[in-house]
C-alpha cells in the first residue's frame, strides 16, 4: 500500500494562516461532495485570484464552474485539490477538510488539470500502471485496472506508444483515465476539452456522463457555455474571483425573464436604431453586438411586430430579426457585463447599453 497515513505537508492548526479555519463543521459538509466557505487566495503582490467564495456541490452532481480566463477557476480547483492552500476560508471535499487532511482528500479525488499531466517518455500503459501503483493498486490488480481503463478510453491499441506521440484528444483521454484509476468519489476536470476538436470534445462529454452515471461527483471548469449547458446539473459563474451567478442552467436562463430579439443592423445606423427601439414595451435592456442589437424583452415573438412598426416609422431599414430564448451566454452577459471568450463571439467585447 503506497497511500500515506499522514502527509508531511499538512499544517497543524497552529500553522494555518490567520483568517483560515482548520476544518468545517460536519453540518456544513453533510451531503455535499464539495463545500467551501469564505475561500480566498491572494498571490504575491496582493493579487486576489479568489475572493470570499462560498460554494456547495451535492454528491452525484455535475457542477460547472464557468468563467473567462483569469476569473479564478483554476485557482479554485487547485485549492480544492490540495495543490494550493487557501489564504483564508475553508473547504472540504468528500467531507474531508482540504487543509487539515490533504492526504485524505487526495485519496478520494481524481484530477485532470488544464495542462495535461502526462509523462511523454512513458507509454500509455506504463503511465496508467504507475498511476495505479501510486494509488496502491499494484500487481495483477493494477495490470487489470490499467487494461480496463485503456479499453474504456479507447487507447488499447495505442497503449504501447509513448504518450508524446499521442494526439491532443488521445492525451486528454489518457489524462482522464489516469484520474480514474482509483474510482474517485469526486472528479475535478479543469477545462477538459479546451483545444480539442469537436469529435474529441464529444468523446470527453460522453465519458463525463458515463463517469457521473457511475456515481462520481464532477466539478468541471469550462470556458464553453454549450459544454456547461450540456453536461451540468448546476453551475456557478465566476468573474474577478467572485461567484456572480449560481444555479441550474435552466433556472438561470428562466431567471432572465425575457427573450432575446436580435436585430441585424445590416448597415443601419446603430444609434438611430437603438433610439427608435428604446421605448418598446417590456424592453429590459439593449446590448450592442457586432453589427447587431440584442433586445432583452418580454415576450419576444409578439414584440417583433412592434419592432418593425417602430423601425418603419423612423424609416430605418434593418436586416434579419430573430427571437431566441435566453442562453447561458445571456446569463453570463447579465452576470458579468460581457460575453464569455470563446462562447461564439470570439471574445469580442460587447458594450452593454442599459435602457
Amino acid at each position: 500500500m503506497t497511500a500515506t497515513g499522514a502527509d508531511e505537508t499538512t499544517p497543524s492548526p497552529a500553522e494555518l494562516p490567520s483568517g483560515m479555519s482548520n476544518g468545517m463543521d460536519a453540518n456544513e459538509t453533510d451531503g455535499h461532495a464539495i463545500a467551501a466557505r469564505g475561500l480566498q487566495r491572494t498571490f504575491k503582490g496582493g493579487i486576489e485570484a479568489v475572493r470570499d467564495l462560498d460554494l456547495t456541490v451535492s454528491r452525484g452532481e455535475v457542477f460547472g464552474f464557468l468563467g473567462p480566463n483569469g476569473a479564478g477557476k483554476t485557482t479554485t480547483v487547485r485549492m480544492l485539490c490540495t495543490l494550493l492552500p487557501p489564504t483564508a476560508g475553508s473547504a472540504s471535499v468528500a467531507g474531508i477538510d482540504v487543509v487539515a487532511d490533504a492526504a485524505g482528500v487526495r485519496r478520494r479525488i481524481g484530477v485532470a488539470l488544464q495542462e495535461i499531466g502526462l509523462d511523454p517518455v512513458q507509454t500509455g500503459r506504463e503511465l496508467l500502471q504507475l498511476q495505479c501503483g501510486l494509488y496502491g493498486i499494484t500487481g495483477q490488480r493494477g495490470r487489470e485496472r490499467t487494461e480496463e481503463l485503456l479499453e474504456l478510453v479507447g487507447l488499447t491499441e495505442a497503449a504501447e506508444r509513448r504518450t508524446k506521440t499521442y494526439s491532443g484528444g488521445m492525451k486528454r483521454r489518457l489524462d482522464l483515465a489516469s484520474a480514474l484509476v482509483h474510482s474517485p468519489d469526486v472528479l475535478f476536470l479543469d477545462e477538459p476539452t479546451t483545444g480539442l476538436d469537436p469529435a474529441s470534445r464529444m468523446t470527453i462529454w460522453e465519458e463525463v456522463r458515463r463517469i457521473n452515471g457511475d456515481g462520481a461527483t464532477i466539478f468541471l471548469t469550462t470556458q464553453y457555455l454549450e459544454e456547461a449547458d450540456q453536461l451540468c446539473d448546476r453551475l456557478a459563474i465566476i468573474d474577478g474571483g467572485r461567484i456572480v451567478a449560481e444555479g441550474a442552467p435552466e433556472e438561470l436562463k428562466a431567471e432572465m425573464g425575457h427573450d432575446v430579439v436580435t436585430v441585424s443592423l445590416d448597415g443601419a445606423d446603430h444609434a438611430a436604431t437603438e433610439a427608435a427601439l428604446c421605448e418598446l414595451p417590456g424592453l429590459e435592456r439593449v446590448a450592442a453586438e457586432p453589427n447587431a442589437l440584442a433586445l432583452y424583452i418580454e415576450n419576444g415573438a409578439t414584440a417583433i411586430a412592434e419592432i418593425v412598426r417602430c423601425l418603419d416609422s423612423e424609416s430605418i431599414t434593418v436586416g434579419a430579426i430573430s427571437v431566441a430564448r435566453p442562453s447561458l451566454d445571456d446569463v453570463f452577459l447579465k452576470a458579468t457585463g460581457r460575453r464569455l471568450e470563446g462562447s461564439g463571439d470570439d471574445g469580442e467585447e460587447t458594450q452593454e447599453g442599459e435602457r
Partner: protein, 251 residues
C-alpha cells in the same frame, strides 16, 4: 517505499530511453581525462613522489569520476515535469512528496553507477591500476555515484525554487569552482598557500582525496571515512533542503 521504487523505476526508464541526455555528461569528463593526461603526464612521470609509481592518469581519474556524476539532469527533469504539468499530477497523488524526490535520486544512483563505471573502464584502458583491487574499484564506483546523488540535491533545489530551465542548467556551473579549487592536479602541499587554503576548506577536495587513495594507495580507512562523511553530509544538507522546498511547494 513502494512509491519510491515505482517513481525510481520510471526515472531509470527515462534515462534508458534518453541516452542522448546522459552521453554528453560523459563526454566532458573523458575529454578532461584524455587532455590532462596528454598534457601533464610528461611533467609528472610515474617517478613523481606523489604518484607513488602510478601514472598521472591514476591521479586524474577521481576528478573525471566526479565530473561524470555531478550533473543538473535531475533538476532539469523536475523543471520539465513542472512545465508539462506532470509534477502536479504527482503532487495530487496520495504519496509523500519526499518520495517524488527520492524516486529521482534513486535513478541518479543508477545513472551514477553507470557513468562512473564507464569512466573507470576508460581509466583502466589508459593503464590505471587500482591498488585497492576489485573491491576498491566497486567502492570507487559506489562512492562516486553517491556523490552524484548528493550533488543532484542542489539541482533539485534550484529547479523547485526557480522552476526555470536556464537557472537549473546554470546550477551546474557552480561545480566548476568546487572541482578546480581542490588538489585536482597536484596534492595539497604542492598548491600555492592561498589555493591550498581554499582547497582545504572545499569539501569536494576530501572526496577526491578519498577516491584517489583507493586508486593510488590502497585501503586508507581514515581518508575513506572523511570522503564518505563529506558525501553523506552534502547529501543530508542538499537533499534536506530539497525536501523542505517540495514540502512547501506552492504553499
Amino acid at each position: 517505499m513502494t512509491e519510491v521504487l515505482l517513481l525510481g523505476r520510471r526515472a531509470v526508464r527515462e534515462i534508458a530511453r534518453y541516452p542522448e541526455a546522459t552521453i554528453p555528461t560523459l563526454f566532458i569528463p573523458l575529454f578532461f581525462l584524455v587532455v590532462n593526461i596528454g598534457q601533464v603526464s610528461k611533467t609528472f612521470p610515474s617517478s613523481t613522489p606523489f604518484l607513488k609509481g602510478e601514472g598521472y592518469a591514476a591521479f586524474q581519474l577521481p576528478v573525471s569520476l566526479m565530473f561524470a556524476v555531478a550533473t543538473a539532469t535531475t533538476g532539469l527533469a523536475f523543471v520539465t515535469e513542472i512545465d508539462l504539468g506532470y509534477f502536479d499530477k504527482l503532487l495530487v497523488a496520495p504519496v509523500r512528496r519526499s518520495s517524488i524526490i527520492f524516486g529521482r535520486l534513486a535513478a541518479d544512483l543508477v545513472r551514477g553507477i553507470g557513468a562512473s563505471t564507464a569512466v573507470l573502464l576508460v581509466g583502466l584502458a589508459f593503464g590505471v591500476s587500482i591498488r585497492s583491487g576489485v573491491g576498491g574499484a566497486i567502492v570507487i564506483v559506489l562512492l562516486a555515484a553517491l556523490f552524484g546523488v548528493a550533488y543532484a540535491g542542489f539541482g533539485v533545489l534550484v529547479a523547485l525554487r526557480t522552476r526555470n530551465v536556464q537557472a537549473t542548467q546554470s546550477s551546474f556551473l557552480l561545480f566548476f569552482p568546487l572541482l578546480f579549487l581542490t588538489p585536482n592536479f597536484v596534492p595539497f602541499e604542492r598548491l600555492s598557500p592561498a589555493m591550498e587554503t581554499l582547497a582545504r576548506i572545499n569539501p569536494v577536495s576530501y572526496v577526491i582525496v578519498g577516491l584517489r587513495s583507493l586508486v593510488i594507495d590502497g585501503w586508507k580507512l581514515g581518508e575513506l571515512g572523511v570522503c564518505f562523511a563529506v558525501i553523506a553530509g552534502l547529501g543530508v544538507i542538499l537533499t534536506g533542503l530539497s525536501l523542505r522546498v517540495i514540502a512547501t511547494y506552492d504553499r
